[in-house]
Assembly symmetry: C2
Homo-oligomer: 144 residues x 2
DNA sequence: GGCAAACTTGAAAGTGATAATCAATTACAA
DNA sequence: TTGTAATTGATTATCACTTTCAAGTTTGCC
């Protein structure tokens, strides 16, 4: 899992004529072992605790590279923060976002995806990506 | 339609203890007869052509009021611009967004909505709103 | 109509997150 | 080792809002 992503990223780096650096290695390691849906700010602050020398701009640029290489995806939940999600090949999921506590759960539903394809077909539309988010109260917040 | 929304907005204004002004009337008229999914920038520039005296901040604040009153809704398609959609009571639709030309089409699908409810129920989640967008190429852009 | 209080307006300044700049540093092929 | 192209980190710029504030309007009340 982690191995595969490290390989995917180093392949990307090589193929683009970019370089392997200490900072990129550190940020990649950190990203791969961190939680889903961390924002740039989150990641930078936590990373800085262990590696004070790494600058904000470097983290920013490196996360963009992760997204470009396909091992991460940028997502927005409308709170003004770009978050980074781990991407596993061939897998797609959507989100349940708690508007009270901010918790994010993931789900997959093949039937919905199929219906989306039908809608697109009806419009002669070719889907590249989609975004489905359900906003509301999670079980914990509801019970309070 | 337009009548109903004007009434809805003036009721909102009255109920909130706000005032009826020339600017709000102009912006409301303009908004109600403009296209769906206009951004603040779009609306301001087009409006300014007819009414040079109206300031950006006023358009901004008034659109926020429209959203608060329920006659408009803010939506984001990931291009960094907040857009304003006309809201018709009891109606909900989702979007097809062309990544080439920016065209936006709307669709409704009750089966998808029902499946969303099922997903939410499985997680003990209470849906307040949802967001479903299909990104890709519209029929026109595909045929080129 | 005249007034005072409260709300609005428009211009300008402020914010917060993202993106670009640049001199100094580092990686890597030859 | 060396030349050169990429990278880094600090700083500055940008972008799209968002707020501030002095001057102008609206509205209820006499």
């Amino acid at each position: 899992m982690k191995r595969a992503k490290k390989k995917a990223f180093s392949d990307f780096i090589a193929q683009k004529g970019l370089k392997s650096t200490r900072q990129r290695d550190i940020i990649l390691d950190f990203f791969l072992s961190s939680a889903q849906h961390m924002s740039l700010e989150d990641l930078y602050l936590k990373l800085r605790a262990k590696h004070p020398g790494i600058g904000y701009a470097t983290v920013y640029r490196t996360l963009k590279l992760f997204a470009e290489s396909g091992i991460a995806r940028e997502i927005q939940f409308g709170d003004g923060q770009t978050r980074y999600e781990h991407v596993t090949e061939g897998e797609h999921h959507d989100h349940l976002v708690c508007t009270r506590c901010g918790a994010i759960a993931e789900f997959e539903n093949e039937t919905i995806e199929k219906l989306q394809d039908e809608v697109a077909a009806a419009y002669g539309f070719l889907i590249e990506t989609h975004k489905l988010e359900l906003y509301g109260l999670c079980a914990k917040c509801r019970s309070k």
